[in-house]
């Protein structure tokens, strides 16, 4: 019985890691530009579908396909910033929300044309059957997800907190005019941040693809879920964003057991709305005075 709960918890942490990776990408862009990119989920889809299609019909080795998937996602993010967000300049939040939602729809249409309507899958990273840990059966791919996520998070945290580039990102977020007067090339900082953020999405896509089928429609819901996770944890703090992602995964896993798998999204959003009523800044967010 204990093994069952452990397994549910583990499953939750696995999908939670994916949410966390996607949410960190979202939060990174939010930090640098105060824009929430609703098209962010599409980078996950592009990463996953690129890698999967490179392995299956084309026959590249898994590792190469995975790397190219991440590269494709990063490049798309870079172009997306160049072609859409940069020309939008400092339009009101209102317009930016709609614009990124529109892009999400356009990406979805393009993905359908490129990869068709059926989901594609990558093979698992390492072969072998599931491992038994404390009575729970754990897929090796789940360990890959957890391991890679942990490493990526540490790198992101180090870069943001300790390096000049990380401080520059924060400076751009707060006051881009002042940042450029301080000699920071704001445009290139933002472009690189977009690339990094989309690549994080690609990593999430490649990691999750062997476990969950990703198709052209998966992106929007993933973006909304990741944003939900980020808001639950608190958008202003990276630790909060990661915590929110993990929490959302675990909540969903348990709600699938207790309520119904068909209602797990509904349950997650109900929690979001309740949380926003009580603590709009998120669990770890800082309370702001207006």
């Amino acid at each position: 019985m204990n093994g069952f709960w452990l397994q549910v918890l583990f499953g939750g942490l696995t999908s939670g890691s994916i949410y966390a990776l996607v949410a960190v990408g979202l939060a990174l862009i939010y930090r640098a530009t105060r824009v929430i990119n609703f098209a962010h989920g599409e980078f996950v889809v592009i990463g996953a579908l690129t890698a999967a299609s490179l392995v299956d019909p084309i026959g590249l080795p898994l590792a190469a396909a995975a790397v190219l998937g991440v590269v494709a996602a990063g490049a798309t993010g870079f172009l997306f910033e160049r072609l859409v967000l940069r020309p939008m300049g400092d339009k009101p939040v209102f317009v930016l929300i709609l614009c990124t939602l529109g892009c999400s729809i356009a990406f979805r249409g393009a993905e359908m044309l490129l990869w068709g309507k059926d989901p594609l899958r990558l093979p698992s990273f390492s072969s072998g059957t599931s491992w038994k840990i404390g009575g729970a059966a754990i897929l090796p791919q789940a360990l890959w997800v957890l391991g890679v996520t942990a490493v990526v998070m540490m790198i992101v945290g180090f870069v943001l907190q300790r390096t000049a580039y990380g401080k520059a990102v924060r400076a751009c977020a707060e006051n881009s005019t002042a940042a450029s007067l301080a000699g920071i090339d704001v445009k290139s900082v933002i472009a690189w941040t977009h690339l990094a953020s989309a690549a994080l999405g690609g990593v999430a896509g490649v990691l999750i693809s062997p476990i969950a089928a990703i198709d052209f429609q998966s992106g929007l819901l993933l973006a909304i879920k990741a944003l939900t996770a980020a808001i639950i944890g608190g958008l202003d703090r990276m630790s909060g964003v990661v915590l929110g992602g993990l929490l959302l995964g675990v909540i969903e896993a348990f709600s699938t057991v207790f309520i119904s798998s068909a209602m797990k999204d509904a349950f997650a959003f109900a929690i979001l709305i309740l949380l926003l009523m009580v603590r709009p800044q998120g669990l770890l967010g800082l309370r702001r005075t207006q």
């Binding site: 000049a164 401080k167 520059a168 924060r170 400076a171 707060e174 006051n175 005019t177 002042a178 940042a179 450029s180 007067l181 301080a182 000699g183 920071i184 090339d185 704001v186």
Partner: protein
């Protein structure tokens, strides 16, 4: 050293500046006076590359700067302390100063530390508060952070937009003393100031801007004595 020739600029279709010509030499404080809306801030914003000029030329040590982006000008030695200071309120004083060196100092921590110490020497109060969030400082201290951050970029010319704005007179005196000391240490300073009386007492030369044109120029003492200037800008009624 710094030569502006027939510069014009504006926002979109709205032209604000027409044929502005001025110069700033080394070790000189030049002040720009003018009523509200005369285009003083627009001039500084154009000179630092925040607004694209529509015509004219800006030369710095003989090099044409027009059309370069703001961050490049900052790396070339022209540092603009904008109106409202533009500090990074959420980051610490130390991080604000470090960011000033972003253009040249990638990774050279020892050099950054040395230059930050110089800024702390100029503004000892900032040293005490180095780990405090800049947004929690008083207005005068924030102005010090803004000036300090500009100094970290190793400027040759500093553009100061109303450093006295919203500060109590005692603090203004302190800030003006600092500006004088910076000039004496070899910097060129272009200052926009509403407080004309105080600014003229500080400056070497001055230009008077009115509806986007330079209508008068001369040494600070001449202008301070000029009847017309007294009438319009020094508040004689």
């Amino acid at each position: 050293m710094f030569e502006v020739d027939r510069l014009s600029s504006g926002y979109g279709k709205l032209m604000v500046l027409h044929d502005i010509s001025l110069s700033v030499a080394e070790r000189e404080i030049v002040v720009i006076l003018g009523a509200n809306g005369a285009g003083k801030s627009t001039l500084l914003r154009t000179l630092s590359g925040l607004i694209a000029a529509t015509g004219g030329s800006v030369r710095f040590d003989g090099e044409e700067l027009l059309g370069k982006e703001a961050y490049r000008l900052a790396r070339n030695g022209i540092c603009h302390v904008p109106e409202g200071r533009g500090i990074f309120a959420d980051q610490s004083v130390q991080d604000n100063l470090e960011l000033g060196a972003f253009g040249w100092a990638r990774g050279r921590r020892a050099r950054i530390a040395a230059e930050i110490d110089q800024v702390y020497g100029l503004f000892p109060v900032l040293a005490e508060r180095r780990h405090q969030r800049a947004g929690t400082l008083s207005g005068g201290q924030q102005q010090m952070v803004a000036i300090g951050r500009a100094l970290m970029a190793r400027p040759k010319l500093v553009l100061l937009d109303e450093p006295s704005l919203g500060l109590a007179p005692l603090v203004v005196t302190a800030i003006f003393d600092t500006i004088r000391r910076l000039r004496d240490s070899g910097l060129a300073i272009l200052l926009v100031e509403q407080n004309a009386q105080a600014a003229l007492s500080l400056a070497d030369r001055a230009y008077v801007l009115s509806t986007g044109k330079i209508v008068m120029s001369g040494t600070a003492t001449d202008l301070a004595a000029n009847h017309q200037v007294q009438q319009s800008y020094l508040g004689g009624i």
